[in-house]
Subunit: 350 residues, 2 copies
């Protein structure tokens, strides 16, 4: 055993001894226990002793005593399944840190069924986490195991089937409508949707937003959708079909940035310049794609960071509420801002 063990951590008792007071008093001054007055001079002595000894309270012991571990658990289906979803972690961590909470994470495999696996929840419960956030990206709805009702929880990316767990979802529909409206405001009328054939909520939200905006502009008849795989190859194929058709669109709203990448290629092959000959927008703002494309892609951002923040903020509020039952509420819809870059312009006169 090296120096590591010799260290023999200093405990509250050591501080008490050094300050010549009881551990009770040390605890009170260090925690600034409410409704407890301690003589100023004593306070100083205790603080000094703690400092000199480099005393750090053992959070495990505190947790055992107070039934609050000061830790929250984040279980994420295939952590950062989509590369930049890691931003959910960043947002959650930053917020937790600000609240003096530690963030533990655990990975859960992608769930085919919408059931949250109890295993991951148990791992956290055993460690007495104060709350749990469950992040998924592939389901509309999710059903929580019974044990999960024993602790404050919040959901990211899916709603609770029972409606009793607060949840946050990206407002893809509005985001999509916003960017399409922007296209319309630039003067486009023949705006097509390069859609995805994935059967996930995002697919539905984005087409809906597209249709909303077209309808709002009385252009529902102009709406054209061609679906394909949600990657560059799919975007290419869909864009080719659209661009080579009669009355080809002057603007393409792509399901995601990768499809937009394929659409860029289709345009280039046809000698179409962006945005002069055709405007193209994407969705996701998936770094480093949009800024690596030329011209830089105007797209709609998925608010991962914000959802992570919101989740622990909400959890903190729940904790403060002392475990009061949460009344069922509808999911929070986090705005998806459109990020304007260089791929949109007015339609070419014809």
């Amino acid at each position: 055993m090296g120096s590591r063990v010799a260290r023999s951590k200093t405990g509250i008792r050591d501080v008490a001894k050094r300050a010549g007071v009881s551990v009770t008093t040390v605890s009170h001054v260090l925690n600034e226990t409410p409704h407890t007055r301690v003589k100023d001079e004593t306070v100083d002595r205790v603080r000094a002793a703690a400092k000199e000894l480099g005393y750090r309270p053992n959070r495990l012991a505190q947790g055992l005593r107070t039934h609050a571990s000061g830790m929250i658990g984040l279980v994420a289906e295939e952590i950062a399944a989509t590369p930049h979803a890691g931003r959910i972690l960043l947002g959650a961590q930053k917020r937790a840190d600000a609240d003096g909470l530690a963030l533990a994470i655990i990975n859960s495999d992608l769930q085919v069924e919408p059931f949250i696996p109890p295993r991951s929840v148990h791992a956290f419960l055993d460690r007495q986490v104060d709350g749990i956030v469950y992040a998924t990206v592939y389901h509309d709805e999710v059903v929580a195991p019974p044990i999960m009702r024993g602790v404050p929880a919040v959901l990211i990316g899916a709603r609770d089937r029972d409606g009793s767990i607060p949840s946050v979802l990206p407002d893809e529909r509005t985001g999509a409508a916003d960017v399409v409206r922007m296209l319309i405001e630039h003067g486009h009328r023949r705006i097509a949707f390069v859609g995805s054939s994935d059967d996930i909520p995002a697919t539905r939200g984005r087409v809906s937003g597209y249709r909303d905006a077209m309808a709002a502009a009385e252009m529902a008849d102009e709406a054209r959708v061609v679906d394909d795989t949600s990657d560059a190859a799919g975007g290419y194929r869909a864009a080719v079909e659209l661009l080579d058709s009669q009355d080809s669109p002057t603007a393409l709203f792509c399901y995601d940035d990768r499809m937009a990448m394929g659409a860029y290629r289709a345009a280039a092959e046809r000698g179409l310049r962006i945005p002069d000959d055709v405007s193209i927008v994407g969705f996701d703002d998936q770094a480093p794609l949009p800024t690596s494309m030329y011209p830089a892609l105007t797209t709609v951002a998925l608010p991962h960071y914000e959802m992570g923040e919101w989740a622990v903020e909400t959890l903190t509020a729940l904790l403060g509420a002392g475990g009061a039952e949460v009344e069922p509420s509808s999911p929070m819809l986090m705005p998806c801002p459109v990020i304007v870059r260089d791929s949109v312009g007015p339609p070419r006169d014809e």
Copy 2:
């Protein structure tokens, strides 16, 4: 207070009562304490009682008693600073999970100075983590604060200045040499390096690898490097300069995938097809770039996942060693595999 509190968790005492034995015995059978024989029938009774009650040991209490929290802490400078570095977390988490360890993460701001901030380490030490992994991506060397010597630790992406903390680094130099050699084997001689002007270890490693490979093929004289910013715009400018020069290169090795993206554009503008007219390779394998490009980019992968795994594996070994001092050793160099896709071919005959 809702049903949450009513739950009043069942403890080891409840199990003991139900099984009609002492808590000592319960502890022994549940933990399968070595060198302790318990009558089979008793074992069964205890197990049954635990199961019926849905008993789950309180890890906080166990930790307090055994001085092992079963948790390791990962502090990452700007978590997933680069989008796919989130894979470090995935690798670490998977490995920790397999070892029955929980993984807590904490974010640290980007450090300008190579000093690991004690604050982040403290947060973990207070929670009695069994070990710490510190992940950075911008420094060659890092110096750990004194407190960090009090716990098993490992470094990702940087070496410890004192050499006493095990560390793992991507072997960028070899990876670069490998991909350049591949280009050479395809018959290329005029291979240029589209380099980065960033003053970070990666820059140095990748040029060195390039030079190694050129030298090994007796082509040191053919080496040409032009540096620029490490993004698409920089790659474009550098590639333009190279492609428009006398005896322009037949292959471009780009510092990273984003620069390769810019190089693609430069080639396209010049009517140069990839890989027929010019071969291009990148570095990082930064999803979703390489597979979204056309043709799909051949590149060298940064082994984030593997480094994450290695880190907790090594930590686990350290823990097993019971805190024995680690003899200083040189950093582990994790291979950077070249990922072959479609952007390389033989040089065009001239």
